[in-house]
Amino acid sequence: MTGTIPDGAPGAQPAPSDAAEGLERYAPLVDDVDAFLAACERPLPRVAWANPLRGDPEVTARRILARCPEATPVPWWPHAYRLPDGVMPGNWLEFMLGLIHVQEEATLWPAALVGAAPGDRVLDLCAAPGNKTALIAAQMGDRGLLVANEKNRGRLSQLRFNLERLGVTCAAVSNVDGRRLPAGAPRDFDHALVDAPCSCEGTTRKLRRRAAPADGQGGEDTAPAEVREARTPTRPTRPRRSAETTPGFRKAIQAIQIGLLRKAIARVRPGGTVIYATCTYAPEENERVLHAIDPAVAAIEPLTAPPGAPLAPGVRSWGGVEFRSDVVHAARFWPHHHDTGGFFVARLRVL
């Protein structure tokens, strides 16, 4: 274990009550429940990063700062800047031209962990809307093969829009259920990212009221979802219990998550890496999924925390289930630690 991840994971945790409402069920995992819940009520800052595939990122970074002098650099991603609330970079010419991209800070981290290099072959199994895909392409210098797969056909347009706007040429977009990749296919990837579908509890800060049409002329805003999001002011929304946080949903989504992770591991060469990430806090969708992987097939590696961004280690047990010991190497972003969304990430080394 390195960096700022505290030593030792929490011990055995009490089983969460089925009746537990919303985010309070994570009280046993959080160091400061009030701070956690308060952070979930605040708008989520966004990050703009200079796209190195489209011009000199130093020049683009200066353009970001010229647009928004209050922007502050993200210390652990080159030419990325945290924007103050109310800034709408989706209206900037730089966004339209693909010189910049906008996303949430914590979601930079999984792409950073992939560690792709030019010429690598990378599988992004759940790619839409393409934020992390674009970051991986930037790491690759747009050379090699980046398969950007998305099962949900309705989200393909967002993915294609982003990759094309950012000038990514090393990506090939596919539209299959990642769990249905053929068995026995060659282990022909160096890395894989499984940014799995989940209950999305960590995104409560992103929920927004739709703004009035941006052209001020009325009518439906037909912009792609990514553009609408980038130019929409944020409004915090109280976390609420929904169908996506019921035990039944968690059980069903867990099966999908395990299937995706197993398939990704099966397609990566020995020695390659697989990043598993979700935007939920739920151990059922995180550590429990990692626990389903045979330790003889893939090991969970320690992570080095990004400078200034404290991470919390994976938990050893939840709901009466004790997980494989190396789940403590996984990490959570809690929103009150670094003013981000909630996020979970683990890096597995294929054996």
Partner: protein, 158 residues
């Protein structure tokens, strides 16, 4: 070689890239490390990094970025292609600023003095390729996607 059932390497790629290089005045080295694929049956052309190749069990919807809507040996290159590859154009390029730039971005036609010859142009501002423009009878017509024109109008409105 085919990428899945949907794409094949475009047999006319060399000729097309040579035409584009000549027409817009960019060296062919700009396209080095890329290959041109033709989608079947639509015949749209796509340009992708040389590392893009077939993968078992993953039929592709898209490879790289769209080059043009048909497989003609000369033609109407996409805005994405213009931005990615034609920033350094030296021919058939219009450098705009001020009102002319504003009109182009929001999609309003604008007369240019002196009037360029009819045809397709790379439109640039501050050294950055914005996209494709079409000149007809001395008037520049923006060929930016409708949504981008809306965004530009929204941004101009503050």
């Amino acid at each position: 070689m085919r990428v899945s059932e949907s794409f094949e390497l475009h047999p006319g790629a060399d000729a097309l890239l040579a035409w584009i290089g000549e027409h817009f005045g960019v060296p062919l080295a700009v396209f080095a490390g890329h290959r041109v694929w033709r989608k079947i049956p639509s015949a749209t052309l796509w340009i992708a990094a040389a590392g893009v190749e077939p993968v078992a069990g993953l039929p592709y919807e898209v490879v790289g970025i769209r080059l043009q809507r048909n497989d003609a040996s000369f033609g109407q290159v996409s805005n994405a292609f213009v931005r990615r590859f034609l920033n350094g154009a030296t021919r058939h390029v219009l450098d705009l600023d001020g009102d002319a730039l504003e009109r182009f971005l929001v999609g309003d036609p604008g007369a240019l003095e002196p009037a360029p010859r009819n045809g397709y142009y790379v439109v640039r501002a501050a050294g950055e390729a914005l996209g494709r423009g079409r000149v007809h009878d001395g008037v520049l017509h923006s060929e930016l996607p409708k949504e981008e024109r809306r965004s530009a109008r929204a941004a101009a409105a503050g």
